[in-house]
């Protein structure tokens, strides 16, 4: 992707531009062409999509392809971007086109086109078949595609109550201006805030006999508050504690059930988000961070809130159990994995303590990964990756299933655009809640010397997913079973299996919440995907904490 595709473009020196691999937190890519507001509630006619798809399937079969799938996609994005009392940008974008993938002579070929005419689709299909035949010449092992029974004509839609695309721009601007005003009044020096809405209208057809129409919605409302102490030259940021969701605009309408007050006074959010209240809290917490005591480095028992733990799960389990990484397909860029096939085959590799059961899914309502079918027409589901601490499975797609002896794909295939080829992407990966009743307050009662971490901060992990370092938004000291005071400059360093084997307890289902990201990068050329991670609050004993404060002299 070129730099100029990014809204807050960074073609220059100081821009916050293109991310490489891994997650990025406040990137705003601009897809396709900007469209008027009325276009955001329209759709491409279903019969037309079926006719176009049939053109490609027939042309591919006639050209000798043994398999073909067609994705006709219309990708809509809306951004409302503000700082303080100013709206910096309002952008609507649309990108429409078709991606055609074929198997010929045992090799994959792919071509994409924005030309949605019968002739345009036939030409792209011919190109895909030609590329497959060229790739077949130097290929040593033919593609083995796990069986997938056609499902006929079906449809699926994200269960939303209120489409964010249909909410007037003025309403969104008014919300952000009120949020920004409240933060400034509460002591913030600066605030940036964004509403980011996504609608992917995806039509999939394959020679297996599937015609799948899906309407996928996602929403995110991040902000970042800055507090400054001019005299000392010190500044601190506190980012919003909202979660990117597979929900409608109703997520931004606060309900009492969505508000969760944590031991020690921080407030986080679940099923709905109060952006206004969070911005006010952020302003006072950013000011408090300026004066908070700097952490003493050493070993601590960590109590990690789901608003923080999702990112640790993502990096140290989600990526490590992607089969393409395990096999070496991402070696040059995203990297490989320590969770090698021999560890899995031993049925005895202790990834974590017996408290750790981690599952993958593409079905939990409200998550970013939830869809009816993946981008190769496989019905989605749920499966365990780590069961009672033991590595039991990976994440696979159709052409990988045979490698682990699986009878079918788990439905992990995704492409970020009609113009990108689909490949294995992370499902939602979540830590299962504990079976015994346990609240965060009860968990903290037993901790003598610990740190309670809320929200995600800086993050970095090696290319085999062993050594990681994580920060956070809010850190609280725990002394003799009580949350005492806010502390600062905290980051913990971990070795993945040691960390998960130090998991002493996980709170119960009542505390189960999600975090997630819109921007998980992988592949060359890079593609992004959106993914959620659920957990309840969890305790990890004896983790190494470093102090991140430095002096520039």
């Amino acid at each position: 992707m070129q730099r100029r595709d990014f809204l807050k473009s960074g073609a220059g020196l100081t821009g916050f531009g293109l991310a490489g691999v891994g997650l990025e937190t406040l990137l705003l890519p601009r897809y396709g062409r900007a469209v008027p507001v009325d276009a955001l509630s329209s759709k491409i006619d279903g019969a037309l999509k079926k006719r176009l798809a049939t053109t490609a399937l027939e042309a591919a079969t006639k050209a000798g392809a043994t398999y073909c799938d067609v994705r006709i996609g219309r990708y809509l994005r809306q951004f409302v971007i503000t700082r303080e009392n100013k709206v910096q940008n309002v952008v609507n974008t649309e990108s429409t086109g078709v991606g055609i993938r074929v198997l010929a002579n045992g090799a994959w070929g792919f071509a994409a086109s924005s030309d949605l005419s019968v002739d345009g689709i036939a030409a792209a299909t011919a190109q895909a078949v030609a590329i497959a035949r060229a790739n077949a010449k130097i290929q040593t092992d033919p593609v083995q595609l796990a069986p997938n029974k056609g499902v006929g004509e079906v449809s699926w839609a994200t269960p939303i109550k209120k489409s964010a695309m249909e909410v007037p721009i003025k309403e969104k601007v008014d919300l952000l201006m009120s949020v920004n005003g409240a933060a400034l009044k509460a002591g913030a020096d600066y605030i940036r805030s964004v509403i980011f809405a996504v609608n992917e209208q995806k039509y999939f057809a394959s020679t297996d006999g599937s015609y799948i129409d899906q309407d996928v919605h996602r929403l995110w409302a991040p902000f970042e508050v800055t507090a400054i102490d001019k005299a000392s030259g010190k500044f601190r940021d506190r980012r919003g504690l909202s979660v990117p969701v597979g929900r409608g605009y109703e997520y931004l309408e606060p309900t009492p059930a969505g508000r969760i007050a944590l031991p020690g006074g921080a407030v986080v959010y679940g099923s709905s988000y109060d952006m206004h209240a969070d911005a006010i809290a952020a302003a006072s917490q950013a000011r408090a961070k300026l004066k908070a005591r700097s952490v003493k480095p050493g070993k601590y028992d960590l109590v990690l809130d789901p608003s923080h733990l999702w990112l640790t799960i993502h990096e140290s389990v989600g990526h490590a159990t992607e089969l393409d990484r395990v096999l070496g397909y991402e070696a040059n860029y995203a990297g490989t994995s320590f969770a090698t096939l021999d560890k899995w085959r031993s049925k005895d590799f202790k990834y974590g303590s017996p408290n750790v059961t981690i599952f993958a899914d593409k079905i939990q309502p409200g998550t970013l990964g939830a869809v009816g079918y993946d981008d190769e027409g496989v019905k989605t589901g749920r499966w365990d990756l780590i069961k009672d601490g033991i590595l039991v499975n990976y994440q696979v797609i159709r052409d990988q299933a045979h490698i682990i002896g699986a009878p079918a794909s788990q439905g992990c295939c995704y492409a970020d655009s009609w113009s990108s080829v689909q490949f294995q992407r992370m499902a939602n990966v979540s830590l299962a809640p504990g079976a015994k009743p346990l609240s965060a307050a009860e968990m903290i009662k037993d901790v003598e010397n610990g740190i309670y971490i809320v929200g995600d901060g800086s993050f970095s992990i090696d290319q085999q997913r062993y050594n990681a370092q994580f920060g956070g938004q809010l850190f609280y000291e725990i002394k003799n079973g009580k949350v005492t005071e806010m502390i600062e400059d905290v980051a913990y360093q971990m070795r993945t299996p040691d960390f998960w084997n130090a998991c002493a307890a996980v709170c119960d289902q009542r505390d189960f919440r999600f975090g997630g990201s819109f921007f998980d990068g992988k592949g060359q050329p890079p593609q992004i995907s959106a993914v959620s991670h659920g957990s309840a609050t969890a305790r990890f004993n004896g983790i190494n904490v470093i102090n991140t404060a430095r002096s520039l002299g």
Partner: protein, 444 residues
């Protein structure tokens, strides 16, 4: 068809500007053809060609502006895209920081286009893959790599009569080579404008050699070490640091360039006196477009001279507010050095660590630009001027600002492309003391 001639591009942009009934109109037309080949496990995994052109139209009524883009250029589409931009502009609230379209400019062309690079064929890309894969197959090594080439054009125009057009080419190659027992890993990267300077069989030997030599690495204690960073290893560290060169962020008090008590560090000595960095769109080895995203002309801009900060980046709005002249935002960074190669720097090192590549760098504390990340694909212990043995990868927690105060010596700059941005950089291999490694990684 996605590469337009200057004449055709101008005809489209002129039509767009004439169609707009708004107070002002700025339009840009960009097109590219990008080819790539990707391989892993000693097999080609994907290869393709992506061709695209896009027109962006920004219009304004007073301080209300709107942007629309389109990739069809017939008369009806041009009328539609202008109408859409105008509709969005009417819906947008007033932006008090709105800046009007720039005046007519004179752009001095830079040598960004090489015919031979634009003529790269699918067969050439297949050969790059074969040149990487075949020697690895023969040596019990496993190659995973990516070769990407691009030819493109950029054109811009506005209702003040401004116009610019220029073509560019580039290529980028990266390859990771691992031993077949997964105990060793090496890497090579090359970024160039001219394909004649690229020779895959030579490049792959670097990664193969590092893979073989990095097998069975020993563990060193984390701590402070003298390091030699190969040019590619420091590129992303500098990428993060230069985000702090934004004048507004510094003046607002939220950058390492913020001065205690208010204001910024312009004119202050912030780095070792051997640190000199400038931007120059006409640099023969690292040429970039002679204008920035706003269409402002880029200039030869000193950023740091002998450790002193000469320039911060002022947006047009911030420059106006602060009584400064806004200059085009740099598209490249050139750091001066000496004549020595990386291996020459090794020869003069009694004890130290050689770093091939850095990875997953993230900001830990913007106050000090404290960054964390890891070494990867070839980390070696140096003793008495020789590479003694491979060592396990380290996690570092280090600030590039501190690092550029702990300078021992710089070698000869080479062209590198960071992973976290697309700024073209000329960076020397750097020998630095007291670089902070905080933990060991088992990753190979």
């Amino acid at each position: 068809m996605s590469i337009y001639s200057e004449q055709d591009a101008k005809a489209i942009l002129d039509k767009v500007v004439a169609l707009s009934k708004a107070d002002e109109c700025t339009a840009s037309l960009d097109g590219s053809i990008e080819g790539n080949v990707r391989y892993a496990l000693n097999n080609v995994s994907t290869s393709g060609i992506v061709s695209n052109a896009e027109l962006a139209v920004q219009v304004a009524y007073g301080k209300r502006s709107g942007v629309a883009t389109i990739n069809e250029f017939d008369d009806a589409s041009l009328a539609r895209v202008v109408a859409r931009a105008e509709e969005l502009a009417r819906l947008a609230p007033e932006n008090p920081e709105f800046m009007p379209a720039i005046a007519k400019q004179t752009y001095r062309p830079s040598a960004t286009f090489v015919d031979k690079t634009a003529a790269i064929t699918p067969e050439y890309r297949a050969k790059v893959a074969a040149d990487s894969i075949l020697p690895c197959r023969a040596n019990k090594l496993v190659a995973a790599g990516f070769f990407n080439d691009s030819q493109s054009f950029s054109a811009l125009a506005n209702s003040n009569g401004n116009f610019g057009y220029q073509r560019e080419t580039s290529l980028a190659f990266t390859c990771t080579v691992r031993t077949d027992d997964a105990q060793g890993s090496g890497w090579v990267a090359r970024s160039l404008a001219d394909v004649d300077q690229f020779h895959a069989p030579t490049e792959i030997q670097i990664a193969m050699d590092k893979a073989k030599r990095s097998s069975s690495a020993k563990a060193l204690e984390p701590g402070k070490y003298t390091v030699i960073l190969e040019p590619a290893a420091s590129a992303d560290l500098l990428t993060y640091m230069f985000r702090g060169f934004d004048a507004r962020e510094a003046d607002e008090g939220r950058s390492f360039m913020t001065k205690k008590g208010g204001g910024n560090k312009l004119g202050e000595k912030v780095f070792d006196e051997r640190v000199t960095i400038y931007a120059d769109p006409w640099d023969p080895a690292a040429a970039v477009l002679p204008w920035d995203e706003d269409g402002l002309p880029r200039e030869h801009t000193p950023l740091v001279t002998k450790g002193v900060v000469d320039n911060l980046q002022y947006s047009r709005y911030w420059a106006k507010l602060k009584g400064k002249t806004a200059v085009g935002e740099p598209g490249n960074l050139i750091m001066t050095g000496g004549d020595k190669s990386t291996m020459d720097l090794v020869k003069s090192t009694s004890k130290g660590v050689l770093v091939t590549r850095t990875w997953y760098i993230r900001m830990v504390d913007p106050q000090t630009v404290l960054l964390t990340g890891l070494t990867r694909d070839g980390t070696f212990y140096i003793e008495n001027g020789e590479i003694k043995y491979p060592i396990k990868n380290f996690r570092f927690n280090e600030s590039p600002v501190i690092m550029l105060n702990n300078v021992e010596e710089f070698g000869k700059p080479v062209r590198v492309l960071p992973q976290e941005s697309s700024i073209v950089m000329m960076l020397p291999p750097m020998k630095l003391r007291e670089f902070t490694f905080t933990s060991l990684s088992d990753a190979v």
